[in-house]
């Protein structure tokens, strides 16, 4: 089985592309304002290249030493696979939907919907638990932010 290209290659390339795009934008800046960005972006693109090259190396290593024991590179580093990041991505989509709902439904309605949705996504089946959580968070936020601190919360079009 042939392994795919290591993720670092993509990360590095993305870094280089971002640097180039932003670098191009700095050409229209006044001299003083452009100075620091050019230095930082140059550094960023160099790191991008180094990571790309490192990624190519890792790809090769992974392909050649297929039969051998996998290399322990770094405990913090994992090879991303679709199945692993699927659920976290679904979760951030739910959060994104919540944020969009906030500007339509206002804080309390959107938050209640979000908590119910998120806990169901988390396969919590006890409605008692879900509603208790919704109730307590809404109450807590209401008491602390609205009553006590007088902090405005996001208002929606409807509420």
């Amino acid at each position: 089985m042939r392994r795919a290209v290591h993720q670092d290659v993509f990360i590095g390339i993305v870094m280089v592309i971002i640097s180039v795009l932003l670098y191009a934008k700095s050409s229209t800046m006044p001299e003083g304002a452009a100075q620091f960005p050019t230095i930082i972006l140059t550094l960023f693109s160099i790191f991008g290249l180094v990571i790309t090259i490192g990624g190519v190396g890792k790809t090769r290593a992974a392909n050649s030493k297929q039969a051998e024991e996998p290399k322990i590179a770094d405990s913090r580093e994992e090879v991303l696979s679709f199945s692993k990041i699927k659920m976290p991505f679904v979760s951030i989509l739910i959060v994104a939907a919540y944020v969009i709902l906030l500007s339509v439904l206002g804080f309390f309605v959107a938050t209640s919907i979000f908590i119910i949705g998120f806990m169901m996504f988390y396969r919590v089946r006890s409605w008692k638990k879900i509603f208790l959580t919704v109730f307590c968070i809404d109450l807590f936020v209401y008491l602390l932010f609205i009553i006590q601190l007088n902090v405005p919360l996001p208002k929606g079009l409807l509420f």
Binding site: L132, T133, C136, L143, I147, Q148, N150, P152
Partner: protein, 345 residues
């Protein structure tokens, strides 16, 4: 399950606790509110159709809580609240040199329930600078009243022997580069230094920093030569003997610094600089509501207690309403336009 419940109990209890204690501490305030409502009854509106205002009014402030604009507003607004008889709440919307808040304000319904502080010259520099591509101007606001007018001051470190008077400073600065504080490109302090350079031929070089504190520390520490700031910022260190104010940039001497000459009386021409802040509503507010607000603010600003508190901070109260205020802002705008080439626009 039990444990979650426990957590919530802890949290809610904690909230109630501060809610309870906070309430106790706030007690004096409630009394004030009671007095307010009594005051409101006394002022019960003779004209019946004007039910405005009948719900809380929000005042947006385009700078962070605790800043100069915010503090000044929080001193004034309780008196306005007392007169209008409805709560007047402050909401800080900082960012974008003030324009995050102003853009928000302009997008609100002109129903008289959302008004905000506008600050010069930041308001003008924000739309005059073509880099920002803003299609707004003063004419997008309906003006309620000016509140504070803080003229510019020029100061040096108290033990800086090179400059005893403003003449010493200007003579020296004509021949040599001197660094000057600024609170940012297009700030009133920056514009003031540019105006002096333009009129008298001095060579002040602005060192832009974040906020007035940065500049004050720079001059007190002897790193920056000259402080370009406002009277409100320079008075206290002047009296404490940390700085020496050499001149003010106003038509008349400042009441807080009666011994300090103006640039004009020293013969350097009409070089004025100021930052002003006042209250405005988004364009299109009902003229009657505008009148109610202008009257309320004018009355609140005339309150002796309010003036005393503002003066303690070194801030001069300068109420301006209607056309007078509009003309004042227009003058400010043309003043900024006049030096805009010096900022490279």
């Amino acid at each position: 399950m039990k444990k979650i419940f426990l957590l919530f109990i802890i949290l809610t209890l904690a909230t109630f606790m501060i809610a309870g204690c906070g309430g106790a501490v706030e007690e004096p305030k409630e009394n004030v509110q009671q007095e307010q409502s009594e005051a409101e009854k006394q002022e019960a509106t003779p004209s019946e159709d004007t039910s405005y205002p009948d719900k809380p009014i929000t005042v947006t402030i385009s700078y962070s809580a605790g800043g100069g604009t915010d503090t000044g507003a929080r001193i004034l607004l309780p008196y306005v609240e007392e007169i209008l008889g409805v709560p007047v709440n402050v909401v800080n919307r900082p960012g974008g040199g003030g324009w995050v808040g102003w853009t928000y304000l302009l997008n609100q319904e002109p129903d008289g329930y959302t008004i905000g502080y506008i600050n010069t010259p930041n308001l003008m520099t924000g739309y005059l600078n073509p880099e920002y591509n803003r299609d707004k101007s003063i004419d997008d606001f309906d003006l309620i009243s000016n509140h504070v007018l803080d003229y510019g001051a020029i100061a040096v470190k108290a033990d800086d022997d090179r400059f005893q008077t403003i003449d010493d400073l200007i003579e020296y600065a004509k021949k040599n580069d001197l660094t000057a504080t600024s609170t940012g490109v297009g700030s009133d302090d920056h514009i003031a230094a540019l105006k002096v350079n333009d009129e008298v031929g001095t060579k002040f070089v602005a060192v832009h920093g974040k906020g007035a504190a940065h500049g004050k520390a720079g001059v007190m520490g002897g790193h920056i030569d000259v402080l370009f700031a406002n009277v409100g910022e320079a008075t206290v260190p002047h009296k404490n003997g940390e700085l020496r104010v050499l001149a003010v940039m106003s038509p008349e001497r400042s009441e807080f610094l009666p011994d300090i000459p103006t640039l004009e009386e020293k013969g350097y021409g009409k070089i004025y600089s100021w930052s002003a802040r006042g209250i405005a509503a988004p364009k299109g507010i009902d003229p009657e509501k505008l009148q109610v607000l202008s009257d309320a603010f004018a009355k609140a600003m005339a309150n002796a207690e309010h003036i005393k508190k503002m003066n303690e901070m070194g801030l001069a109260v300068k109420p301006l309403i209607g056309d007078e205020y509009y003309q004042f802002l227009k003058d400010d705008e043309s003043g900024v336009k006049k030096v805009s080439h010096l900022m490279g626009w």
